[in-house]
């Protein structure tokens, strides 16, 4: 599969084969990393991380991935420290930065910014979040985490919990899961149901879907419970937020009737959706999920740079 020079902008651009390939490469890199400690596939290559909007975790994850591949990193972590403040266009910033680097990771508050950056740049561009639109590397690391935990994705029953209306992460994850033979439980307050057009799209692709507000009743069915935060900033109206804030909390008593093998995931950061007491149980997969970001991003960086032929 030819990935050299390819951009990673949206889950929509991927086929199932693309996804499987990335997951497989990530797995091989993780094994290799465990054996050798450090790799040098990207020696001499430079990653530019352009975080017009701050997101420390995502930036650190990409930086860690590039360093573990043997490459180096330049970049900025907020637009206020760049020429953007002086009114420079996004296109000009990208054209300038590509003179200094071999691959660009961009995070921006505007939807479509990564797509525009990719059109302007000759080097590969990876989207690390564009407003409320896409965050494809998050979706890939979610899939990777599930696959590593269960050895497969097909045949699993997965619950998506929380803000299914505004939650970018769950939208992309659901779209990607549609490639697999899964059953989905969409658990949310009435006000935060998954948008109808996404549900229809999933159903057309053959995903079995159940919508419910009842977490405790649904728990026993699940192999994976994917929890999301109800984000105040996504609400157009504060009153709406107050109505649904704190709707669900996953704690040990909620998990009483869960399968022993149930895994709880969360894109983090969490507020109060998962009680810290869950951290010590076998159910907690969310820190492992954070770790997964590194091999998955290593795979994407290495593939788009074209340095992983040997893997």
């Amino acid at each position: 599969m030819d990935w050299k020079g390819r951009d990673v902008i949206s889950v929509r651009d991927f086929s199932k084969e693309d996804i499987e390939f990335v997951l497989k490469v990530a797995e091989r890199l993780e094994t290799e990393l465990n054996e050798k400690g450090a790799l040098d596939y990207a020696r001499g290559k430079i990653l530019a991380t352009l975080f017009f909007e701050p997101s420390t975790r995502t930036r650190l994850s990409f930086e860690s991935a590039m360093h573990r591949l043997g490459g180096s990193v330049i970049g900025f972590s907020s637009a206020s420290s760049t020429s953007v403040k002086k009114g420079e266009s996004l296109a000009d910033t990208i054209k300038t930065v590509e003179q200094y680097s071999d691959v660009i990771v961009i995070r921006h508050s505007m939807e479509g910014a990564a797509r525009l950056a990719a059109e302007v740049a000759d080097i590969p561009v990876i989207n690390a979040g564009d407003g409320s639109n896409q965050h494809p590397t998050q979706t890939l690391l979610d899939l990777y985490t599930i696959k590593r935990a269960f050895g497969r994705i097909d045949g699993l029953t997965i619950g998506l919990l929380g803000d299914l209306k505004y939650g970018r992460t769950v939208h992309s994850l659901a779209e990607a899961l549609a490639f697999y033979d899964v059953e989905l439980y969409l658990i949310s307050p009435e006000l935060l149901r998954m948008p109808k057009h996404i549900i229809e799209e999933l159903q057309e692709k053959g995903v079995r879907i159940h919508e419910t507000t009842d977490l405790e009743g649904t728990i026993p069915e699940l192999d994976v419970l994917y929890v999301t935060r109800i984000q105040r900033e996504r609400f157009p109206d504060e009153q709406e937020y107050l109505k649904v804030k704190g709707s669900y909390q996953v704690n040990c008593s909620v998990l009483k009737n869960a399968k022993e093998t149930l895994k709880v995931m969360h894109p983090l950061p969490r507020v109060d959706e998962i009680h810290p007491e869950v951290d010590r149980t076998e159910h907690a997969l969310y820190f492992r999920q954070v770790f997964s970001g590194v091999p998955v991003r290593m795979a994407l960086l290495g593939l788009t740079l074209g340095v992983l032929e040997g893997v």
Binding site: S10, R12, S89, L90, A91, H108, S109, M110, E111, G112, A113, R115, L116, D130, G131, S132, N133, Q134, H197
Partner: protein
């Protein structure tokens, strides 16, 4: 009808069967509202057997490409296009919504990069009936009403 004969053109394009009242919008979309040397005629609210009332636009001395014409399908899906040469209809086709719409539609998402940076807007047609398009940049879907407001 006599009054239409008066406005017959020698060479150019006649767009017929435009829903009544949409003729001006068609002229706007095709950017014909600037003088191009030829005669531009708009007949509005003309009697039509098919539509009851319709608009007709005639453009002298200009041959619109099929693609150019297809853009008007967004507002005038019933329209037919006649290419006139030497007072005769040399070619005739119905408008069709293209798979991609570039340059004529603005994205309804205020936070879309295409509304802030220099880009040529681009949309993919997701469904024709009802009309739905997806923004190439922000990936948001726009439906008929929003599309018409942003043309």
């Amino acid at each position: 009808m006599a009054e239409l004969k008066v406005t017959a053109i020698r060479e150019g394009t006649v767009i017929d069967h435009i829903p009544a009242g949409k003729g001006l919008k068609v002229i706007e979309i095709l950017r014909l509202n600037r003088p191009n040397g030829g005669v531009l005629l708009l007949a509005s609210n003309v009697h039509s057997g098919k539509l009851g009332r319709k608009d007709i636009v005639k453009i002298e001395g200009k041959f619109l490409s099929e693609e150019e014409v297809n853009k008007i399908a967004l507002i005038a899906p019933t329209a037919t296009v006649n290419i006139v040469r030497d007072y005769k209809v040399a070619e005739k086709f119905k408008v069709e919504i293209p798979d991609e719409i570039t340059g004529i539609l603005r994205c309804a998402n205020p936070n879309c990069v295409s509304n802030h940076e220099y880009t040529v807007s681009k949309f993919y047609v997701v469904s024709r009936e009802p009309l739905k398009v997806r923004c190439h940049y922000c990936e948001r879907t726009m439906e008929e009403e929003e599309i018409l407001r942003n043309l």
